[in-house]
Every structure is written in structure tokens, then in C-alpha cells.
């Protein structure tokens, strides 16, 4: 095999390992969908793609259409003609959620229907009446919203014991949509003669109130960037390590390739650290951040050791870590956002009560409670409890013999608990991604020397160490992945969130491949789509406003997810690689391109 064909083959394997296989494994696909679900999926996918196009085309769209601008603490500027599209996408995602709720287990159904009812009543309350009397007037919009809620609840009760039927989604969509069309239409027709355009205000109110519900998706999207980086590292080495051909050929050629790659990557990583330290070029390591970074790596090592002891099986591969990520990322993100659901409920209820004429201490109390839920104290408590809780769950899972999940949960728990420290002591703990990357690089080089001295540095271990070095680069440079997109959009934050949303949409639909009595397949598919479409819609609103701060700062949450949970994922992958390299057993834990079994 010529060098060119080997290189081509390696590139092909890298592409398959990085892009093709994760998508084949994790994409939304028909795994026995009930009749009539396909059109719903098509609607959801088209809505998602449309929202992505809105984000990518936002600069062009803004340049073509008149901007509606309102000036306040932030300048909200929107291409006015796009507002109905935003409302449309919001309705589609709400209808997806509510249709899914018809067949889930009772408590989920009740919670989701309650949330839908609040949203519909809230939208109905936008109709303030002819005289702008607000709460005093019983308006058509409000009445229609109440009728819509009654219809949705009745439908929920009637369809509880039935299986999914194709007409449910169009019906729910029509009910929710009709309510919104009536209230928005009346609101517009009442305000326009006065020269007042409530469209942007209504859109901003809807997106900023409901947008909090997209936070878990944004956090998970942040993790997806790190996931992509880890897959890239493992796939790259797998591609180099496993050229096609006979085993004989493999044993003869791979070590030389691996040694060359190892040397090149090591020179890059060490060179970068030295350039940063000596010449202040690139992401220089702040020496003050090194001790705690070492402490974090040691703490992760200790947690892994403890988990291994509890499970009586130490070595977990990076593939196992990645394989468990999808089942962990969204629940952890949801746990971190646990205060946001009641916050949204309180905000919606306060606005509904006010719109229906209620005032006074009830509304004040709700808003006060909402402020409390948004406050630093709540954030600190949530992060601390989630961080420690994840470590406890990791221990329990390890005792049950689970692999991958305990390691991931423990590492994420450690980082989440660390993120609560500055909120408690008003002093940021001094660690940073460059310092962690430096510690990983040095640790990997030390490991290489130790293994070489002990004559255990075989091809498998060399490959693992290359992965570790690449992961150290991913620790610092993974945001570069979003750079091409940010060049188009002009904003790194939106690009990072968009990258994460799209990658999650393409690869994280595993949950829809299964089925249970509590969550039938159709409900899983629709909940997945509802989450994806709503998240990307909120992001599209921010992109069209050319300022995510105009509604809810989803990019900040995506960056938080990337920096905290993504860093934890990369570190977990490093720990997996190190422990595999140190393992005495002969099990081949080389990075392996994922394969599709179905």
C-alpha cells in the first residue's frame, strides 16, 4: 500500500470515526416509529434546520429588513418581519412537547401539561383589550386561551391510555396556535392604530420568559463541543493506528508511525507550554494556577481509584466514557438548571395573574421568590448539592458495577462543586484550562518515560499517550472548533452554542432509539425534537437580535457547559486513557472508532 493510499485511508477512517459513525449511531432514525410520526419528525427537523439557517443568515437578514429597535439597558434590535417566524417556531416546539406529554407516565404528563397550560394562558394574556385595560378586561384572547387549556387538558385525559395517533400533533398545534394567533392578532390590531408595535415587546417577553427552559439544552450543547474534541482526538489516533491491511502489515508499520506522531504531538504540546511560559506567546500558563490544577488532577485520580476499588475493576476506556456521555449530559445539565423550571412557572403565573387583574402580595411574593431562585445563594446551593450529589450517585453506581457513568459523574461533580467555591468565599479558585492542559502534558510525558523505562511502552500504550496529549490540546483549543462558524456569524458565543446544538441534534438522539411504558417511542422522539427546536429557536432570536443578551444569554450557558462540564469530560477522558495505559491487563483499550450495530 502506497503512502498516499495509506494516508487517504487514514483520513477516511478519521472522518468516519469523527463524523460518520457518531451521526449514524446517534441520529434520529426510524426504529419502529408508530404510523403518523414521520410527518411530525419532518416538521420538527425542518423547523430545526430553518432555525439554524436563520442563525447563519442572521447578518444578511438584518441587512435586508428594517430593524425594530428598542433601547433600554440593552439595545434590542430585530428584523421586524422575522417575528412571526419566531412565534411559529415557539408554537411548534410547545406543540411537540404537549403531544409527547399525552402518552408519557402520569406525573410527567401532568407537569408538561401544566407548563403548556401556563404558556397558553400567558400568551392569551397578551391581549390587553381594546382600551388597554389589562387585567380589568375579559378579552377574547384570554377567553380563547382558557378554552385552549380546557381542550388540551381534556385531550390529555382522553388520550392517556391510547397509543400515539397521527392527528394528535396537528390538533395540539392547532389549539396552541389558534390561541396565540388570536391573542397576538388582537394585541397587534389594538395597538397599531396608536402607533405602538407590540410585536418586538411580545417576542422579547415570550423568549426571555420561556427561554430559561432552553438552558439545559444550552449546557448540554456546551458539553457537545468537548465531546466532539474528545472524539476527534481518539479518532485521529485510531486512524493512524489501524491502517487497513493484514495484521502483519500492522505490526510492522504502526509503531514507526506512532512514534513519529507521538514525537510531533509531544513537541507541539511542550513547545506551546514553553513558548507561553518563556515568551508569553499563546495561552500562557499562569504559574499561580498550577497547584490547584495539579490538585484537581490528583482529586480526579483519587475518585477514579476509589470508584475502581468499589467496582473491583479499575480500567475504563475513553470509548466507554464517551458511550455513557449521552445518558449523563442532559440529566446533569437539567440538574444544574433545576431552579429554572420553578422560576419560569413563577414568572408565568405572576404575569397571568397580573393580566387577569390580580395584584398585591401574591404577585409580589411570586416575583420575590423568582428573584430568590435567580440569586447567588440559590445558584450556590444548587451547584453544591448537584456537585456532591453526583459524587454520591457515582459511588452508588460504582457499587452496582456500572462502568463509565460513575467516572463521568464523579469528575463532573468535582468541577460543579468547585464552581460553587467563588460564590461562597468571594474568591475564584485558581485553576485554568491552560494550567490543566500543562499538567496533563507533563503527566503524559512522565508516564511515557516510566512506561519506556519499564519496557511497557508498546504500540497500544503509545497510542493512548498520543490521545492524552491531543486531549491536553483539546483542553485549551476546543473552542477553535466553532471558529469557522463564528467567522460567518461574527460572534464566538453564538457560534459555540450553535455548534453544540447542531452536534447534539445529530448525535444525541440515542434516547429516542429505546422505548418504555413510561416513555413510549413517539413521546421520546417528540420530546427530543421539542427540546432541540425550542433551544435553537431561542438561539435564533438572539442571533437575529445580534445580541444574545437581548433575551437570555444562551451562549453564556453554553460556554459554562463547555468550560465546566466539557473540561470535566476531557479530564475524564484523559484519566481513562492514563488508567488504560497503566493497566497490566492485555485488554485492548485503544481508542476505537464507534460502530453501528443496527
Amino acid at each position: 500500500m502506497s503512502v498516499v493510499s495509506r494516508a487517504t485511508d487514514s483520513i477516511g477512517r478519521f472522518w468516519r470515526g469523527l463524523i460518520v459513525d457518531p451521526i449514524r449511531l446517534g441520529r434520529l432514525r426510524d426504529t419502529g416509529w408508530p404510523s403518523g410520526l414521520r410527518p411530525v419528525v419532518v416538521v420538527g427537523v425542518v423547523a430545526f434546520v430553518f432555525a439554524v439557517l436563520l442563525i447563519l443568515g442572521a447578518p444578511v437578514i438584518r441587512s435586508f429588513f428594517p430593524l425594530s429597535v428598542s433601547v433600554g439597558e440593552v439595545v434590542l434590535s430585530l428584523p421586524r418581519l422575522m417575528l412571526p417566524t419566531i412565534f411559529w417556531l415557539v408554537i411548534l416546539s410547545i406543540a411537540l412537547m404537549q403531544t409527547a406529554a399525552l402518552h408519557t407516565r402520569r406525573r410527567t404528563s401532568v407537569v408538561l401539561t401544566f407548563m403548556t397550560a401556563l404558556i397558553v394562558l400567558f400568551l392569551g394574556s397578551l391581549d390587553l383589550g381594546d382600551g388597554g385595560d389589562g387585567g380589568i378586561a375579559l378579552t377574547v384572547g384570554k377567553i380563547v386561551s382558557v378554552l385552549a387549556v380546557i381542550a388540551l387538558v381534556a385531550l390529555s385525559v382522553m388520550r392517556r391510555r391510547s397509543t400515539f395517533a397521527w392527528w394528535e400533533y396537528p390538533l395540539v398545534c392547532a389549539i396552541v396556535g389558534l390561541s396565540m394567533v388570536v391573542s397576538l392578532g388582537r394585541s397587534a390590531s389594538q395597538s397599531a392604530p396608536f402607533g405602538i408595535d407590540f410585536g418586538p415587546t411580545s417576542a422579547s417577553l415570550v423568549v426571555s420568559t420561556l427561554g430559561q427552559l432552553a438552558v439545559p439544552a444550552a449546557l448540554a450543547a456546551g458539553i457537545a463541543v468537548a465531546e466532539f474534541a474528545v472524539v476527534a482526538a481518539t479518532s485521529a489516533v485510531a486512524a493512524v493506528q489501524r491502517p487497513s491491511g493484514s495484521e502483519r502489515a500492522v505490526s510492522r508499520t504502526v509503531p514507526l508511525v506512532l512514534v513519529t506522531v507521538f514525537v510531533l504531538v509531544a513537541v507541539w504540546r511542550i513547545g506551546e507550554i514553553l513558548l507561553g511560559l518563556l515568551a508569553d506567546i499563546g495561552d500562557a500558563i499562569n504559574p499561580a494556577h498550577v497547584p490547584l490544577s495539579i490538585g484537581i488532577v490528583v482529586a480526579v485520580g483519587a475518585l477514579w481509584w476509589a470508584i475502581g476499588r468499589l467496582r473491583r475493576s479499575a480500567s475504563v476506556s475513553a470509548d466507554e466514557i464517551l458511550g455513557r456521555l449521552d445518558s449523563v449530559a442532559l440529566p446533569v445539565a437539567a440538574a444544574l438548571s433545576i431552579a429554572l423550571a420553578p422560576l419560569v412557572i413563577l414568572l408565568l403565573m405572576a404575569q397571568i395573574i397580573t393580566a387577569w387583574g390580580g395584584e398585591g402580595f401574591v404577585v409580589d411574593g411570586m416575583l420575590g421568590l423568582a428573584d430568590l431562585l435567580r440569586g447567588t445563594t440559590t445558584v450556590t446551593i444548587v451547584r453544591t448539592l448537584v456537585g456532591l450529589g453526583l459524587i454520591v450517585i457515582a459511588v452508588l453506581a460504582a457499587r452496582r458495577g456500572s462502568r463509565g457513568v460513575p467516572e463521568l459523574l464523579a469528575t463532573m461533580g468535582l468541577f460543579i462543586a468547585l464552581s460553587a467555591v467563588p460564590l461562597v468565599v468571594d474568591e475564584a479558585p485558581e485553576w485554568s484550562a491552560p494550567a490543566l492542559a500543562g499538567v496533563i502534558t507533563v503527566g503524559t510525558m512522565v508516564l511515557a518515560v516510566v512506561l519506556a523505562v519499564r519496557r511497557r511502552l508498546d504500540a497500544r500504550r503509545l497510542a493512548l499517550l498520543i490521545v492524552a496529549l491531543l486531549l491536553s490540546a483539546a483542553m485549551v483549543w476546543r473552542e477553535v472548533l466553532a471558529d469557522p462558524v463564528s467567522l460567518i456569524i461574527g460572534a464566538a458565543g453564538i457560534a459555540l452554542a450553535l455548534f453544540g446544538f447542531v452536534w447534539s441534534f445529530l448525535t444525541d438522539a440515542d434516547v429516542t432509539h429505546g422505548e418504555s411504558a413510561a416513555y413510549p417511542r413517539a413521546s421520546r422522539v417528540m420530546l427530543f425534537l421539542a427540546n432541540a427546536v425550542f433551544g435553537i429557536t431561542v438561539l435564533a432570536f438572539g442571533a437575529l437580535a445580534r445580541d444574545l443578551g437581548a433575551s437570555i444569554n444562551l451562549d453564556a450557558f453554553a460556554q459554562f457547559g463547555d468550560q465546566l462540564l466539557g473540561t470535566a469530560l476531557v479530564l475524564a477522558a484523559v484519566a481513562a486513557v492514563w488508567s488504560s495505559a497503566l493497566a497490566l491487563d492485555s485488554a485492548d483499550s485503544r481508542p476505537r472508532a464507534p460502530s453501528v450495530s443496527a
Binding site: V43, S77, A174, A188, I196, G490, A491
Partner: protein, 636 residues
């Protein structure tokens, strides 16, 4: 399987058709699902588009097309050669009369139901001439056509009841109409107006004989308006021929006022180069401060506009756009509705409206560059006014300009204008004509603010870069991926740059190279950063910290606040806290003087500006307070 049981046999016989029926049913259901689901989704989209209504139908019939659009600017000369600049403002509802003198607005409120006024469509034409004489005419678009409601600014103000019909709805050549009524409240002056519409067949020329283009189907009117006192002891007759053109209003008029010739002729192109004058330079607040400075108690200044005829009017409003200040010590704000630029003269007693401009659309930011007042608008325009309030030029940016425009060279008397559009295009505009001198994209969305120092323009962007551009050529000198910048300041001489990051860091960079000099943590959301000769002072909502410019060593700390005023190498810095103003020594942090701020109503934001030799704090709820320095102790 059959067992001989008749029922089983029957079931076996019937079963196959049942299976076929279910399959058929499923097939039809699938077909229906593919039709109904997308159909409902598309119908929903169509319904949302259909009910979305941003603006009402324009009143005034076909005659409304002659009314200039909102923000339209026209320049004309009169028979005496005096040039006048007019701006058109179009509005709907009560806000349309808010800019009128209080007497006019109150009278209109008395005459009509609030609901009718709330739906009324207005056209205001405000003008200012070479001599600084200014005034405004208020017109209404209604089923009657275009009517003139009021006129103010001159030695006599008018409030017509009923309004004079200037053009009836759907006016056509050959139509005639007339109206009569009060010209001032109480009937002390009355008017009688007769009009005839005619075909506008030119040529119509200006004073220099240049033909005024009649575009889009213009219409002519001939009118005689007699304004007389009740006793007819005083009478004025205005005889006028006028030409209205679509979207331009009256482009040509000629006639007499009591047999004296009068007229106005539109200038096209309406170029009005800005000619800098030696404007009075106000003493700077920061320059006036020293270690013995003491503040007089702050005063809450009423905001008022004075009309020669209608008298004083109280101005109220909420101020959401950060204000600015002119070189001659005037305050620049944006009005409550967000569509007028207001320039105020401040003294110890009151803030008096000097002039207002209407650039069109919503004003996004205001700044003062040399003698120019610059506004950026929702129409992506950058609009420049001279010190008299005449719109001298406007320039179309490729995106919204959110950051206030700044001077290319703060030390120059007539500096050019630097603007950074949200798209990331940084542009230098010639101050005289608003033409582009250079334009440089930075390949990312620009954040606010834009700062100039040591011949460099510093712009932060949404891709976490801080970019320095050569102020002369626009070339990018350096770019540093520093993080998301929230506040930015630079020393005019050394170019030392200090930024606060959204991540909670305070970073100092060398202006020439972009190299990071030092970095430290700043707790709380940053509200301001200032670079002085040897210190960097940063304020957040939770803390104020002063650091040595060279080493980044903390020299003093204080509590947080809402605004920081200083720089210009001053040794004194002003800290605006929620309930107090503090003067502090930059080097030691010692408090030199402190004055309490009286409580006012709820306010979402507070802006502090050094305006002339005073400090002004303006809250978004419209409360304006002013502090000035006590005269030296020797004078007391």
C-alpha cells in the same frame, strides 16, 4: 385454524378482509398524516403572518403621499437668501404632541378625546436657519387631508381651530376649498383661508435659476390666508403659490406677506457642509478638580423648553440612551420616545432645551465629536448636527451603530468621527461632509464602547478580540484574543489600555503592542474603568479598585458604585455611588469631598457625565442632578 365450530369458521372467513381493512385504514391514515400535519403547520405560519401588524393605514388619503417620511431632511433658501434646514417627524398618538409647547399640547387635549388623539397621525416640521432662528409646524393627517394644527418658535405662535386644511384628502387639480376659525386660543386672532389646487407645470426655479425637479407627480396650490384680530385692527394676508411633491412636502413656494415678497426654494442636492466655528470651550470638570476641591450640594434641575410666544414648558421623560456632552458644556440626551435628540443648556437653576433634532427612526446612541453632535439610529444611519442643531450630514452604515461615535483625535479642534457598526466595520468619517476616509472590518461583531488613544482606535468584539487600528489609515495594528470585554478605556498619551472582562477580570495592555501588562480579578459586574497618568481605576457594582498602571499592584480599594468619572490625567476621580458622590485622590484613594444624593423614584439605570465644569447625574426616570465646585476658599 378451524375446529368445526361455526363461529370459528365464520371468523376465519371474515378475518382476511378485516386485516385488509386495517392495512387500508393505516395507509389512508399515513396519507392523511402527510397532508394534514404540514398543512396545519403551514396554515399556522400564514395565520401568524396575517395577524402581525406593525403599523396602521396612513390617513390623509392620497394627499398623504406628499408628506415627507419620518426623518426626512430638506434644505431651502428664502427670498432673502437665508438657508433653512427642516426635519420631518411622523408619529402616531399622543406622543406626537409631546414635543409641542405645553400650552399647545394641553389645548389639544382639551379639544379632543384622548382616544382620538391617541390614534391621531402627526407630521411635525421643525426648522432652523442660518441665524439660529428655529421653529416648528405641527400638521395632522386625517380624513380631512393634511391640516395645519399649530406653529411655534416665532414671536407669534398659532393654534388653529379648526386646523387649516392645506391639502384635502385625495386633492386633485381644480379642487377648491376653504376654512376659517381661530388662529390663537380665545379667538384673539382668527384666520380665513381659501385654497385652489392646480397642476404643477414647471419649470420652478430657485434663486439662482436652477430648476427644481418635479418628481413623482407634484401638485400645486394657490392660497390666501388672512389672519386678523377680532377687531380687525391687525390683519396679515399671506398669498402663496406652492408646489408639493411626493415624499418631499412643499418644494417651492412664492408669494407675498402683506405685499412683501416671500418664498422658499428647495436646494438639491441638500449639501450643507459643516463649517467649524470657534465654539466656546467649557472648562473641564476633571481639569477643575484638585486636592482642595469641594462640592456644592447637588441640585435637581427641572427640564424646560422655552417658546417666545407660548412660554416655558416642563419637559419630562425617561432617559434610556446614555447621554453625552458637548465641548461647550451642553448635555445631549434622547427623549422619552427615543426619536428626538435633545441638547440642553445647564445652569444652577434649570436645564433649558437648546435645540432638538429628529434624525428619523429610533436613536440608538448619541455622542459629541468636536462641535458636532452625532446620533446613530435604528435605520443604521449616523447623523451629524452642528452646534445650532442643523443636520449637516448623514451616513448609512452597514449595520446598527450601538457604540457612541467618538473623535478620531480628541485633542484636535475639529476631529473626524470614528464609528463602529455592530457588524464590526470600523469607519472614519470626515467631520465636514460625513464622507468615508477609511473603513476597516474586524471580522466580528463590535461591542461597545469604542475608544481612541495614542493614535489608535480600540474596538472589542464578540469573538473575544480586542483590536487596535491605526487612526490615520485604519490598518489593524494588533489584535489580542483577550475575552469578552465589558468596559474599555485608554490613555490618550501613552495608549495604555485597560479593559474589564465579562469573566470578572481587569486587564491592562500595552497600547503599542497589545501585550498584556497585568491582569487581576474584579468582583461584581463592571460599571466603569478609567486610565489616569499612573493608575487604572475600575468600578463594579461591588467594589472600586485602583491599581498601579505599571505593576498592577492594588493601591486602594473602595465600595462599588454606579459610575466612574475621571481620566484626562487628572489626579482626582469622581465616584458615583447609589446614594453619594465622592471625590477621591487617584493616587492615595483619600476622600476629598463627599455629597449625598437625595432619594428619587425607581430608576433602571444611572448615567454620570462631566458636562462643562459640572458633574451631571441623570437617571433613567428623568431626574437630572447637577453638582458644581464651590469657589476657592479664599472667595468664600
Amino acid at each position: 385454524m378451524t375446529t368445526g365450530n361455526p363461529e370459528s369458521i365464520a371468523a376465519a372467513v371474515v378475518a382476511p378482509p378485516l386485516v385488509d381493512a386495517r392495512a387500508e385504514h393505516r395507509a389512508s391514515a399515513a396519507w392523511l398524516a402527510w397532508v394534514v400535519t404540514p398543512l396545519v403547520v403551514l396554515l399556522l405560519s400564514g395565520a401568524l403572518d396575517a395577524v402581525d401588524q406593525a403599523a396602521p393605514e396612513v390617513l390623509g388619503g392620497t394627499s398623504a403621499r406628499y408628506v415627507p417620511p419620518d426623518g426626512h431632511r430638506s434644505v431651502s433658501t428664502d427670498a432673502a437668501g437665508t438657508t433653512s434646514v427642516a426635519e420631518a417627524s411622523r408619529s402616531i398618538g399622543i406622543e406626537g404632541i409631546f414635543s409641542a409647547p405645553t400650552f399647545v399640547a394641553a389645548t389639544l387635549f382639551e379639544r379632543e378625546l384622548v382616544d382620538e388623539l391617541a390614534r391621531a397621525q402627526w407630521w411635525r416640521s421643525s426648522y432652523v436657519d442660518d441665524f439660529g432662528e428655529r421653529g416648528a409646524d405641527l400638521f395632522r393627517l386625517s380624513d380631512d387631508g393634511i391640516t395645519q394644527v399649530a406653529s411655534w418658535g416665532g414671536s407669534i405662535g398659532f393654534l388653529f381651530d379648526p386646523p387649516i386644511v392645506l391639502l384635502p384628502a385625495d386633492a386633485l387639480p381644480g379642487d377648491t376649498w376653504s376654512s376659517q376659525g381661530e388662529a390663537v386660543v380665545g379667538g384673539a386672532l382668527t384666520y380665513t383661508a381659501t385654497f385652489a389646487a392646480l397642476r404643477a407645470e414647471g419649470p420652478f426655479t430657485d434663486l439662482d435659476g436652477r430648476e427644481i425637479p418635479l418628481t413623482g407627480g407634484c401638485i400645486g396650490t394657490e392660497s390666501t390666508i388672512v389672519i386678523a384680530s377680532a377687531t380687525e385692527s391687525l390683519s396679515t394676508t399671506l398669498a402663496r403659490s406652492a408646489v408639493w411633491c411626493p415624499g418631499r412636502g412643499v418644494v417651492w413656494s412664492s408669494g407675498t406677506i402683506d405685499d412683501q415678497p416671500s418664498g422658499s426654494f428647495e436646494l438639491r442636492p441638500a449639501a450643507l457642509p459643516f463649517t467649524p466655528t470657534d465654539a466656546r470651550l467649557a472648562a473641564g470638570w476633571t481639569n477643575a478638580l484638585d486636592s482642595s476641591s469641594e462640592l456644592l450640594p447637588g441640585r435637581e434641575l427641572p427640564l424646560q423648553a422655552t417658546d417666545p410666544f407660548f412660554g416655558d414648558s416642563e419637559v419630562t421623560g425617561q432617559y434610556r440612551v446614555p447621554p453625552s456632552e458637548t465641548r461647550d458644556g451642553r448635555l445631549v440626551t434622547v427623549n422619552d420616545q427615543g426619536d428626538d435628540v435633545q441638547v440642553w443648556n445647564l445652569d444652577r437653576v434649570a436645564a433649558s432645551l437648546s435645540w432638538l433634532g429628529h434624525p428619523g427612526g429610533t436613536v440608538v446612541s448619541v455622542g459629541a465629536v468636536g462641535d458636532l453632535v452625532i446620533a446613530t439610529t435604528s435605520r443604521r444611519q449616523v447623523v451629524a448636527y452642528d452646534p445650532e442643531g442643523r443636520r449637516v450630514w448623514s451616513w448609512n452604515a452597514d449595520e446598527l451603530v450601538i457604540a457612541p461615535p467618538v473623535a478620531a483625535s480628541p485633542s484636535e479642534a475639529f476631529p473626524d468621527v470614528i464609528v463602529a457598526a455592530r457588524s464590526g466595520t470600523v469607519t472614519r468619517l470626515d467631520a465636514e461632509r460625513g464622507v468615508v476616509l477609511w473603513s476597516q472590518p474586524i471580522d466580528a461583531d463590535a461591542r461597545t464602547p469604542v475608544v481612541v488613544g495614542a493614535d489608535l482606535v480600540f474596538v472589542a468584539d464578540e469573538r473575544d478580540h480586542l483590536t487596535a487600528l491605526d487612526v490615520t489609515t485604519g490598518a489593524i495594528v494588533w489584535q489580542n484574543e483577550i475575552g469578552a470585554v465589558s468596559r474599555l478605556a485608554a490613555d490618550a498619551t501613552t495608549g495604555l489600555v485597560a479593559v474589564t472582562l465579562e469573566s470578572g477580570s481587569l486587564v491592562a495592555l500595552d497600547g503599542a503592542s497589545g501585550d498584556e501588562r497585568w491582569r487581576t480579578a474584579l468582583t461584581g459586574a463592571a460599571v466603569g474603568v478609567v486610565v489616569t497618568a499612573d493608575r487604572v481605576v475600575a468600578m463594579s457594582e461591588e467594589a472600586t479598585v485602583a491599581l498601579d498602571s505599571e505593576s498592577g499592584r492594588v493601591t486602594w480599594r473602595s465600595g462599588g458604585g454606579v459610575a466612574l468619572v475621571g481620566g484626562d490625567r487628572s489626579s482626582i476621580i469622581t465616584l458615583v455611588q447609589p446614594r453619594a458622590i465622592e471625590l477621591r485622590s487617584v493616587s492615595s484613594g483619600d476622600v476629598i469631598d463627599r455629597q449625598l444624593i437625595a432619594a428619587s423614584g425607581p430608576s433602571s439605570s444611572v448615567f454620570a457625565r462631566a458636562v462643562g465644569d459640572s458633574l451631571v447625574v441623570i437617571e433613567s426616570n428623568g431626574v437630572l442632578r447637577r453638582w458644581e465646585l464651590r469657589e476657592s476658599r479664599d472667595d468664600q
